[in-house]
Amino acid sequence: MKRGEVTIHIGGVYASERPTIIKTLLGSCVAVCLHDPERAVGGMNHFMLPRGDGDGDDAEAGRFGVHAMDLLIGAIMKAGGDRRRLVAKVFGGANVLDLSGSVVDVPRRNIDFAKTFLEEEGIPVLSAAVGGRYPRHVHFHTDSGRAFVKHVRRVRPHALAEARARAAPPIGYGSITLFD
């Protein structure tokens, strides 16, 4: 069967029970790919924790990171996957702007968050390609769970900026509805 193709950007989440190639371009952001091998359901998110400098901001960053993962797991379960069978692959977190050594190491925080989350939730990480200096193109096949990663040595000057511009708006807090 021919696979469909979907591209996601920062803040994006996609999962499907139909064979799909999910594509994304990662700089310092992280993408987590989750796969339920038994149901051949897979999905990917692409997130960047909000930058925090104080304790309160760290808590806020954690909440948004957990939410990015929660959205992905929810999308996979809606597509027929079971969270108890999920396995993960983690990509991204490159020091594209060579920010290491700055007060807050943004790529490292994104990588550490993803790994800690998966460990806490008991989701095994099958492979990870993280860190380094170069952005990555990632293609994830939702049915087989295979991922294809290519370093981008020569980034078009504005490719990452373009991807960022197409990003979903920052996540706001959700609505509250009380029924009569």
Binding site: G74, E121, I176
Partner: protein, 124 residues
């Protein structure tokens, strides 16, 4: 006035965030990772409020809400649904199942505490 609250949520980290938010108001918090575990917990312990996710393995949140509404003890216990589902059709299903309210994630701890106080009738 602290209350006893059951959180039903399959994500351990989301449960921890909800627990932290509620404990700041001194509520007694219990946790269940799914609908079946929630029913077993409620067999033993009555609660003042249930907060449940929707998409969970084994028994989803709306099935849990319907099951609770069929039980004499939880027939009128407030039940808040806390979920990433933000569609109107799903909200309507929640209302029909008997939920008291529908909170879309991500939640702000202050808003969650405020909503909990409101449905429990605790003065702000």
């Amino acid at each position: 006035m602290p209350a006893t609250i059951l959180i039903v949520e399959d994500s351990k980290l989301v449960r921890a965030m909800v627990r932290a938010a509620l404990q700041a108001d001194d509520h007694r918090v219990m946790e269940a990772p799914g609908g079946r575990e929630a029913l077993a917990t409620l067999d033993d312990t009555p609660v003042d409020l249930v907060i449940t996710d929707v998409n969970m393995p084994d028994m989803d949140g709306l099935t849990l809400v319907r099951a609770l509404r069929a039980r004499p003890r939880e027939r009128s216990t407030p039940i808040l649904v806390l979920t990433t589902e933000d569609g109107e059709a799903m909200k309507q299903r929640g209302r029909e199942a008997g939920a008291t309210g529908w909170l879309v994630k991500p939640f702000h701890p202050d808003q969650l505490r405020h909503t909990v106080r409101h449905v429990l009738g605790i003065p702000a």
